[in-house]
């Protein structure tokens, strides 16, 4: 998120695109309602379904799933045709607008309407509403990202906000709502297979930097790897790790298959292609499931040995810092001591390190070994030293704890403290918070305030000049307020590696952002297939007639160590055999794989059973009544037979006439059979049901490998 949840209160228009706030982020909905009621901000919800959030909109637009780039481009074309674009923003603070203009020629309104299923009038109305009510916010979530061209969708939203000049302003911004507690913190700290903490990547420089922070010899780290090549090679992703078990090792981007899998607070029912996950869990030598509850992972595979359950503490039994969706850091206390034999995550990690033979190096710190008594504080001090790229340095343990004590003095609209020892600080010390004197930066890319007050331009990440010779430094007059340099400038030397923090401190004292003042890249030349976002039909397209004009990508051989199929999986005949659209999402009572929530009987009482939303028309075509059982079947993709699940019909007009919508939190049942008997005695959740991801289709984002669960096909049969 470039802006904050609270900052929605300053928006003059609210566009919610592929996110169901009422269900996924209910607390944040108060800010949308504030904008709607107090600012009279029009609320536009763009979602194939008439979601709970759509019920609060002034305008609901049902877009065909997976066609968001085309719709964004239709809207941009209307903006440009009317001269509504922010010319200064495009001229001074972006690079590559010409390439976008070239691409936009393919997206006339008739074409966009045909591709997206949205009427020309609605496209014009979205553009007009956004142009007349600035600054406006664009909010999205998985409805925007879980597509084979999800990276392009995300970038298209950013381009739209640049065209409208909504970046770097209160009430504006590109705001993707993260879906879980501390998931932003997890990403920041590098729980990804292609980067070290702080998005440094896996190159030699990053390894040196972090070894320096850890106080460990970089040669020792090297000695742990098979080769320096493997040290810099992205690993498997959470979307397709199981192929490392199933596929022939010759097909993999590494010499051997995976032999063990450890689940740590993650549910395997979040994976699409769940029948393949099941096979992998049956083939792998060892499964370890670390969770407060027995998750789906433990009961899904048909096996009786080498599955270990390690009881982990809940959030209430441990403490430390967390980072929320809008980059705010918060210190959390322990509420109760660990219950029964459960242990804290850090305790389990430390024991793993010890028994795997690198306990000493793991517990090393620049200031000596960690103490078990305050390891969480020690770790917080360590990341605050190393995370220079994103300015996660000023959130000291002491400051986070102090903010907790003074929470009552922060203003709800500005997030700034009005009094007390925290006066002037922003709530959560939102990163970048460059130094321990910096107040935090709740709104990114703001140039109307000094760097010392949370201002900054766009990061000069790609140097001074693009490959085409054009400048990547911002134009005249677009430096943060109070800057001695009034235009763009390159990043400061050593700003990412000076762990003393002095480089950053000196730059900020002068009014300079350590990371430079560059241009937002509309043309990202390094993304070779789509330097500017392009519409591409989903892998399982319901419109085979459009595949020739808007094809998906070429297959990729070594994509996070596995081959990922695009063109060879995009088969026109799927639409004939599987004529119904498949979509998944949340229900408000549960979260993630649901292993905690389905063990809470008050939540299960509200939602006792798994269901499939189905339109009355589609239901009656198949002789299905509300509450009837039905089978949902999906294409076989890599397998020898179609996947299928048995689920109860919830007949509702919420879904469009040709769509099935499944909540994804369920587990404990597979292809119509209950797995209740496989849970350890006394551990069967109150709510068990079929997992949506049994039938979600093959398909992955070209860049990130995120699964395409918001654009699939299926067929239904009355059970």
């Amino acid at each position: 998120m470039t802006n904050s949840m609270n900052d929605i209160r300053n928006a003059k228009s609210v566009v919610i695109w592929g996110e169901n706030i009422c269900t996924s982020h209910p607390i944040a909905m108060q800010h949308v309602l504030h904008a709607k009621e107090v600012n009279k901000a029009p609320v536009v919800v763009i979602d194939p379904r008439f979601s709970k959030t759509a019920a609060f909109s002034d305008k609901h637009v049902s877009v065909r799933q997976g066609t968001d780039v085309a719709l964004v481009y239709g809207v941009i074309n209307v903006i440009l045709a009317n001269g509504w674009e922010d010319k200064a923003m495009l001229r001074d603070r972006t690079y590559g607008f010409e390439l976008l203009q070239e691409e936009l020629k393919k997206y006339d309104l008739d074409t966009v309407s045909n591709v997206t299923g949205v009427s020309k009038e609605d496209i014009q109305q979205i553009a007009k509403t956004m142009a007349e009510n600035r600054p406006g916010t664009v909010i999205w979530a998985m409805g925007g990202t879980q597509h084979s061209n999800g990276t392009s969708v995300t970038r298209a939203f950013c381009v739209l906000q640049l065209v409208l000049g909504n970046m770097g302003k209160p009430g504006g911004g590109t705001n993707v709502f993260r879906g879980h507690d501390n998931v932003q913190g997890a990403t920041d700290l590098g729980v990804l297979s292609d980067t070290l903490p702080g998005y440094y990547g896996l190159g030699e420089g990053p390894w040196k930097h972090w070894s320096n922070v850890w106080g460990v010899d970089v040669d020792y780290i090297k000695s742990r790897f098979k080769s320096t090549d493997m040290m810099g090679k992205p690993g498997f992703t959470v979307a397709r790790w199981y192929e490392g078990i199933l596929m022939d090792a010759k097909e993999l981007g590494q010499d051997t298959n995976l032999h063990a899998t450890i689940f740590w607070g993650h549910s395997s029912n979040c994976n699409s292609q769940m029948d393949r996950v099941k096979k992998a869990l049956e083939k792998v030598d060892l499964i370890v499931d670390i969770d407060p509850f027995v998750s789906n992972t433990a009961v899904l595979p048909d096996r009786t040995d080498n599955v270990y359950l390690l009881p982990a503490c809940t959030v209430y039994e441990q403490y430390g810092s967390v980072t929320n969706s809008n980059r705010d850091n918060q210190w959390r206390d322990r509420v109760v001591d660990p219950v029964f034999e459960s242990r804290t995550d850090i305790d389990i990690i430390m024991d793993f390190a010890k028994h795997l033979g690198f306990g000493e190096q793991f517990m090393k710190n620049r200031n000596g070994p960690y103490s078990k008594d305050h390891v969480v504080e020690d770790l917080a001090r360590e990341w605050a030293m190393g995370m220079l790229t994103i300015g996660m340095n000023g959130q000291t343990v002491e400051r986070m704890k102090r903010q907790k004590e003074w929470a009552h003095v922060f203003d709800r609209d500005t997030k700034r403290a009005v009094s007390g020892p925290v006066k002037g600080e922003y709530w959560g010390l939102s990163w970048p918070c460059w130094t321990d004197k910096h107040p935090g930066s709740p709104i990114l890319y703001r140039v109307d305030v000094p760097v010392a007050e949370g201002g900054m331009g766009f990061r000069a990440r790609w140097g001074k000049e693009a490959p085409d010779g054009k400048t990547l430094l911002a134009g005249k007059g677009s430096a943060p307020k109070g800057s001695p340099i009034k235009e763009g400038y390159a990043e400061i030397d050593n700003w990412k590696t000076d762990i003393t923090g002095k480089t950053a401190e000196e730059a900020i004292a002068k009014g300079i952002a350590p990371y430079g003042n560059g241009r937002a890249r509309i043309n990202a030349w390094n993304l070779k297939d789509d330097p500017v976002p392009k519409h591409r039909e989903p892998i399982h397209s319901p419109r085979p007639d459009l595949i020739a004009a808007w094809p998906t990508y070429d297959d990729v051989k070594d994509h996070f160590r596995v081959p990922t199929l695009f063109k060879s999986m995009q088969k026109p005949e799927y639409a004939k055999d599987f004529p119904v659209l498949l979509n998944t999402g949340r229900q408000v009572e549960f979260e993630g794989g649901g292993s905690a929530d389905r063990n809470c009987w008050w939540l299960v009482e509200l939602q006792p059973e798994m269901y499939a939303e189905i339109h009355p028309g589609l239901a009656s075509d198949h002789g299905i009544k509300h509450g009837d059982w039905m089978w949902v079947e999906s294409p076989q993709d890599l397998d020898d037979k179609p996947s299928r699940m048995k689920v109860k019909a919830k007949v509702t007009k919420r879904v469009p006439p040709n769509m099935i919508y499944l909540p994804f939190h369920w587990g404990g049942s597979f292809e119509g059979k209950s797995l209740a008997g496989k849970f350890p005695e006394g551990h069967v959740p109150y709510g068990i049901g079929e997992s949506a991801n049994v039938v979600t289709n093959y398909g992955y984002d070209r860049i990130t490998q995120m699964q395409e669960t918001k654009g699939g096909l299926c067929r239904i049969i009355k059970a």
Binding site: P26, K52, A55, L603
Partner: protein
């Protein structure tokens, strides 16, 4: 302010049907706070026109009506109105006849069905998190009625956790002020949901 004068206090709910998002937080918080058994709902969010324009969610607890019809029809005087307007049931007097259920315009009274031969147990309903006619926080009160937050100067749990402040609880003038401001902002002129029934003439 009236809220400083307990003898004149008049507790009310304001249910903002333009703000409830059906997150169910009130229902779960109520159950957790009062240890309400499965099958009994002291508050329930009702959704009408689901999936269509006009979809509206209404969280419905006991409204603690000013001229409570349940109190009027109770044949054994188990129901009564407290000095602060909260309507209580005395579970040790209640005979489970169900007259109150027929009289209540909001469907608040709940009856456990676990008694033999399908007979109704004694009535249970929203207490405004104010316990019952027992010593506050006594074991007996907790067992029969649940929590007593009002005795501690706290608002009912449902309103306290409401994500969008759709459910507002408090003393009558304070609640009325919140309602007035919101309705004025919208320019709709609509009266708060249920008030003409629960608090006529207020």
């Amino acid at each position: 302010m009236a809220s400083n004068q307990p003898s004149q206090a008049r507790m009310k709910f304001f249910i903002d049907t333009k703000r409830c998002i059906e997150c169910g937080g009130c229902e779960v918080a109520c159950k957790n706070e009062n240890h309400v058994p499965m099958g009994i709902s002291r508050i329930r969010v009702v959704t009408v026109n689901e999936g269509e324009r006009g979809e509206t969610n209404v969280p419905i607890p006991c409204m603690h009506c000013s001229k409570a019809p349940c109190v009027a029809v109770c044949p054994v005087d188990a129901l009564f109105t407290r000095h602060d307007g909260i309507v209580h049931v005395n579970k040790e007097t209640c005979i489970g006849c169900g007259y109150c259920l027929y009289a209540c315009p909001f469907g608040a009274p709940q009856f456990p069905t676990s008694a033999p031969f399908g007979a109704r147990g004694v009535m249970d309903k929203c207490t405004y998190c104010a316990g019952g006619p027992e010593e506050p926080h006594s074991q007996r009160e907790v067992q029969l009625y649940g929590s007593n937050r009002v005795a501690d100067g706290k608002l009912p749990m449902c309103a306290s956790v409401c994500a969008t402040k759709a459910l507002v609880a408090g003393d009558s003038p304070d609640v009325a002020e919140v309602a007035r401001k919101r309705i004025a902002l919208r320019g709709s002129g609509e009266a708060p949901w249920g008030w003409s029934t629960a608090y006529p003439g207020a």
